[in-house]
């Protein structure tokens, strides 16, 4: 699948109608989602015919992108039932077979090494400190091949140190810096649109 085609298919997905601030629900836009999965496949071969899990899947954009890029099985995991309903509808619209599980990533009971790749746009941890780290820690435990994640560029050093030293990652690499358009979703947003610099990371868990 071509990048443009992927982006345009993802552009048709429904996004949060009532985002929940405590969960830091920001939609992953089609521009970022398509580039993330396209790069994961074309530079590293981490998607096609792989088992991919989307942590904190929200409306399911990254999971859908993985399925469109030829993942053999996609799991979408989120704590919020409204998000999962929307993600289910989005998957059905695109005729994708995605398995959804409602769970708090911190308490996920997942057996074995079936998941090759975890993709995620975790909460940035601005509302609840450390939320981004909990996601990263869980992802590195469950993925057997690679973890792709978005984190604020301002936290780059911290992320790298935590991944390598605390969570046992073998590698931690920033693939590119992206602009994340956070639209004015919440009342506390004063500006109409906030442009946040985020890093697209690729981590490899230890063998």
């Amino acid at each position: 699948m071509k990048l443009k085609q992927l982006e345009s298919l993802l552009g048709n997905l429904q996004q949060f109608s009532n985002p929940k601030v405590e969960l830091e629900q920001y939609p992953t836009g089609p521009h970022i989602a398509s580039r993330m999965l396209y790069m994961a496949e074309n530079s590293y071969g981490d998607v096609t015919e792989k088992v991919v899990a989307d942590f904190g899947c929200g409306c399911g954009t990254l999971g859908a992108a993985a399925a469109l890029m030829g993942a053999e099985q996609v799991f979408g995991i989120d704590v919020d039932s409204e998000s999962l309903e929307m993600a289910t509808a989005n998957a059905e619209d695109l005729e994708l077979d995605i398995e959804f599980v409602q769970c708090d990533i911190r308490n996920l009971g997942w057996r074995g090494s079936s998941v090759d790749t975890v993709v995620m746009n975790p909460p940035f941890g601005t509302r609840r400190k450390g939320a981004d780290m909990e996601f990263l820690c869980a992802a590195l435990k469950i993925a057997s091949g690679a973890v792709y994640s978005l984190h604020k560029t301002s936290t780059r050093d911290h992320i790298k140190r935590a991944a390598l030293r605390d969570f046992g990652a073998k590698t931690a690499e920033v693939l590119c810096e992206l602009r994340f358009d956070v639209p004015q979703l919440y009342k506390f947003h004063k500006k109409k649109e906030v442009d946040v610099a985020v890093d697209l990371w690729r981590f490899e868990p230890k063998d």
């Binding site: 799991f75 039932s81 398995e99 959804f100 599980v101 708090d104 009971g109 997942w110 057996r111 079936s114």
Partner: protein, 122 residues
Amino acid sequence: MRLLTHNMLSSNIKGVVNGFPLRIEAEKVIHKEVDLNPDFLRNIFSKIEWRALSDAARSLGYAELPEEAEESMLDSDEFLGKFHHALLEIHLEEGALVCPETGRKFSVSKGIPNMLLHEDEV
């Protein structure tokens, strides 16, 4: 929920030592046909807890899987077909997953298992 998913999930309640496999209580089971991919089945085979899969399939009315399986069986198209069906085509749509140690039920609704824990279970 596919039985593939059931094969990965375990009860993560605080204090539970062996939360796998979750027992299944089925209210509604549906079948959805999907294309068979032999390479995927061969890949995933080593990651499947076979007994849990064959027991789960049987509890949902599909008794065609042998109780034990080994890699050489993947050469048989007949075996692949049954493995494929049990793993990917049988869906638990409504029902519950039950923690084997505590009996706590995790509901499954519209095909989505709810594995959220209560505050005192974390």
